[in-house]
Amino acid sequence: MKNSYSIIKSPVITEKSTAKTAEGKVVFWVDVDANKNDIKSAVEKIFNVKVLDVNTNRVPGKMKRMGKHAGQKPTRKKAYISLREGDKIEIFEGV
């Protein structure tokens, strides 16, 4: 299994993700090859919290064009993580 720190890439900070905080959920960008079990153990290890559930979805990379050059943005994976009530991850409290 991969290193925990390479599975979790960065927090997703958007209106939707901050709204989820109220439901006790946090959202991360994660490695596209990581499965839910990997994500669960990585979050528990890094942030010292109890993860109840993990939902993931892939965000397909978009075609980007700069004149005649076409390019592909990488596909990414987002993970919605439900935390045990009362647990918190500091980075979402104020970024």
Binding site: V12, I13, T14, E15, S17, T18, E93, G94, V95
Partner: protein
Amino acid sequence: MQKTELKISVEELSPVKKRLDITVPAEAVKRELDSAYKSLRSSVNIAGFRKGAVPMNILKARFSGHVHEDVVKKLIENAYPHALSEKAIQPVDAPKVEIKTEALEEGKEFAFSAVVEVSPALVIDGYMGMKLDKKAIEVTDKDVEDGIQKLREVKAGFKDVERPAKDGDLVVVDFEGFMGNEPVKNTKSVDYPVLLGEKTLLPGFDEALRGASKGEDKEANISFPDNYSEKTLAGKEARFKMTVKAVKEKGLPELTVEFAKSVGCENIEGLVDKVKKELADVKETHDKERLKNEILDKLIEAHPFDVPDAMVNRYLGVILNRVIDGMKQGSYNPGDQGLSIEELKGKYRDMAVRQVKEDVVLDTIAAKEKLEVSREETEKAVRSIAESRGVSFESLMGRIEKEGALEIIKDGMKHEKVFDIILGASSAA
């Protein structure tokens, strides 16, 4: 912000310096912070959020430093005038503000101090019934005679004479300069009036023309001075050919009824009266100036007080500007030449202190006597200035208001009123 919210204490550092310690309560700080964040939220763009939908905690995390700076500024701007009006302090200059709260925090109060300079609190008395060295104004017959003589000289006319010209005569002349046989450019003049003896032309002209009569031709070798404005001619000699067209003698008008009429009087007696009255006016103005100085001398001597540095510096600035402007226009005050700004400051500092003292004394008396200058009075004064300068009242008033000079005019009139009551209540020593 209501002023009752503020906690203010005043400490006197010197008679003209005060320190205000102002504490803004926590609620007011919070209110300011909230409103600052709210206005920030509606304008800021952060990726991932629509405009205006950024959560507070993210705003606070990202912009606290910036917002706090603004809020501190705003708190001081709001609290300072309130504190001044509550403690009835009228500063003469911008305050030196020192922030005492290290970091602005929500839920904590904010404290700062401001050091201001104020006009000295003066109690002036003894200005009523002053004994002054009043002098009777008298115009002697000799003064009148001199006055009329001056008037005649101003009105002097010239009349043609058939005799050789001498100093004081006006000679009308055509001339042109030649070098070899070539005429020199720009030296030809026709009907040029020369007042002999005034040396208005190149040196040598006056000498050549002296003794010439009407219709006479003259020639003279005249050299251009080394610093002549036309570089190619400087230092060279040219032969000038001149033709005298007329010789005129300066004649003073006779003291006749016609002369009196030409200056707007009925007859000679009227002229004498007019001159007498004008001289008396001038003398009276002079004497009033002298008395004013005497009053100020006495009052300042009787009431020693400190003056705020800020005021002295402001007055000093005005004086220096005038001195430097004068230098630029070439009218040197003997002794100012070659002095540095610092030296000038030292030289004129006493004058500035004196002016500050004069103004403080006069303002204090004006306040005590409740002297006010109404809008109508200033307008009347401006109108008379406009008339004497030959400009329209509206344009002058507009310019005065734009330059903020109205207050200065008002102050001047207020000071005049102060002098009037002092002079009215004084007696001769």
